[in-house]
Amino acid sequence: MALAWAVISCLASGYLIVAFGWSREPKLPDEKLLRASLSIGLGIGVFSVIYFLVNEYRLSHVLAIDLVVLVLLVAAFFTLRRPGSTPAAFEILASESIALPPWLHRVLSGSFLFALIVALYSAILRSIAHPDGEGWDAFAIWNLHARYLFRGGEHWRDGFSPLIPWSHPDYPLLLPSAVAHFWSLLGRETTAVPGVIGLAFTFSTIGLLFSSLAILRGRNSAMLGGLALASTPFFVEQGSAQYADVPLSFFFLAVIVLLHLNDAYLAENLRVPGLVGLAGMAAGFAIWTKNEGMLFLCACVITQMTGRSRQSTRRVATLLAAVAPFLFLVVWFKHSVAFPNEIFFNRPAMLPKILDPSRYWVIVKWFGKDFLRFGEWWPVPGTVLLVLFYSLIVDKHRPQRGPTLRASVWTLGLTLAGYFAIYVITTYDLYWHLRFSLNRLFLQLWPCVIFLFFLAIPFESGKKVPNQA
């Protein structure tokens, strides 16, 4: 009963937030899948914030607080939401950028389904085989912080002591707090909770990628994109490892997808203003998940601000307004609970590193190496496969790429540049740090890369053709 309530209230919170920001009733299956995928991630995010605040203000009866929040969301949904006035927008947007003969469409459909089943099979078996997650970070960082939140009572901050080495007390608390929230509703700790949350984020990311591509580029592109992500072994492994990189990749993708959807609507002279607010919220959850979220947010805001139109100014203002509460939460957490990140601890030592050219060369080599072997693909690396695919199917004489796509590519580029800079100044041994983290940083951006890749493939004849679905 408690488990059912926990799952229902989490998903319902997410659904109401998505529906509130997106007033139009979903008509197409792809639109429903998109909303469902967003609901899962945003619901877990909301759950996390609720529990953190309950813990911080020492409120009892988490169940009652959840009910109050749900009632408030329902009330807001029915009273403040504007009725959907847009015409059949997704019928306008849905089209095929890659037209395929029927037999190949069937082969692709079967292959995507196979890859999805394999990913599910692998992720579930790995979760069963490793109930405490794979690797140390699960029980040394994320679930450890969850335990302190759950067991610590008013002394939960003890868990963020600098006496516990390598536990990263400055890491934000989306995952630990969500896990602890479910534990508190169940009344006990169970390894199933972090495992299921990991699986939820993994397959929501695939769902989000598929549905957004289906809406913006047609089912064929969606299946190709979904196939690429579901066939990435490292993505599936990390999804079940109980680390925070796949959840972060979900929120990064959500931000990019929502901004593109918003601009696709605007291109058809339709306004759905809540989408940018939702993107801001997703960015807020990203910064509440891992420190890299802050870097991504800065990159996103910078690239959005480079547009000089009134629309861009309004978009940035809406984005920042939606992110503001999360920024406040994270800044407050880092100021009052967390200790400074080890990387920035020894500032005088940074300058010699910045001026050392050999460090840059080492990092460039590792970036190149990991670009080629990222994802643990076999036999052809996924990154190389995308390049080959693009060279085969895209004709030279094509329309220009849109400003939104350029801005998103710049966002990822700036984020990567930020990762590069962190390696330059890191206090850890450089080789050690690159070896044990670079592939996970790439993983955070991988779903976005696949999304933008298929978005960059222009419509074959420059015109939209009807969706085969």
Binding site: P101, L104, V107, S111, A119, S122, A129, P131, L224, S231
Partner: protein, 137 residues
Amino acid sequence: MSEPHSNRQRARTTTGVLLFTVCCLLSSLRMVYKTGNPLHIQVDDAGELSEKRFAGLRTELPNRGVVGYVGESGNAGTEDYYRAQYALAPLVVDRSKDHPLVVVSVSTLPPKPDTTGLEPVKNFGNGVLLFSNKGAK
């Protein structure tokens, strides 16, 4: 667009999609192979064993505060420390002898942890011992 060009482009698209699909499927098949036989899953029970190992000790320690920890060195010792920290939360386990109570974790392999200056309090079995450090600040 001229017809021969359209045909060439369609052939390239078909080839590209087929190649992409086959490569993705090969990667998926490798994932199946690496995941192994579901009837013979080997569950990593290190976490559960660690919880049981430290269960008795937890009942003897205060609910909160800091305890010291001494264990073996190296990677195995580091994992053991984090497992102990996870099992004993919400206590903070400091990898130091400089606390009134010190948890000592002993494995079967040499060398034994350094317990110089510590006095034994209780042996919980399974290589888990509690020591006291009367000289701790």
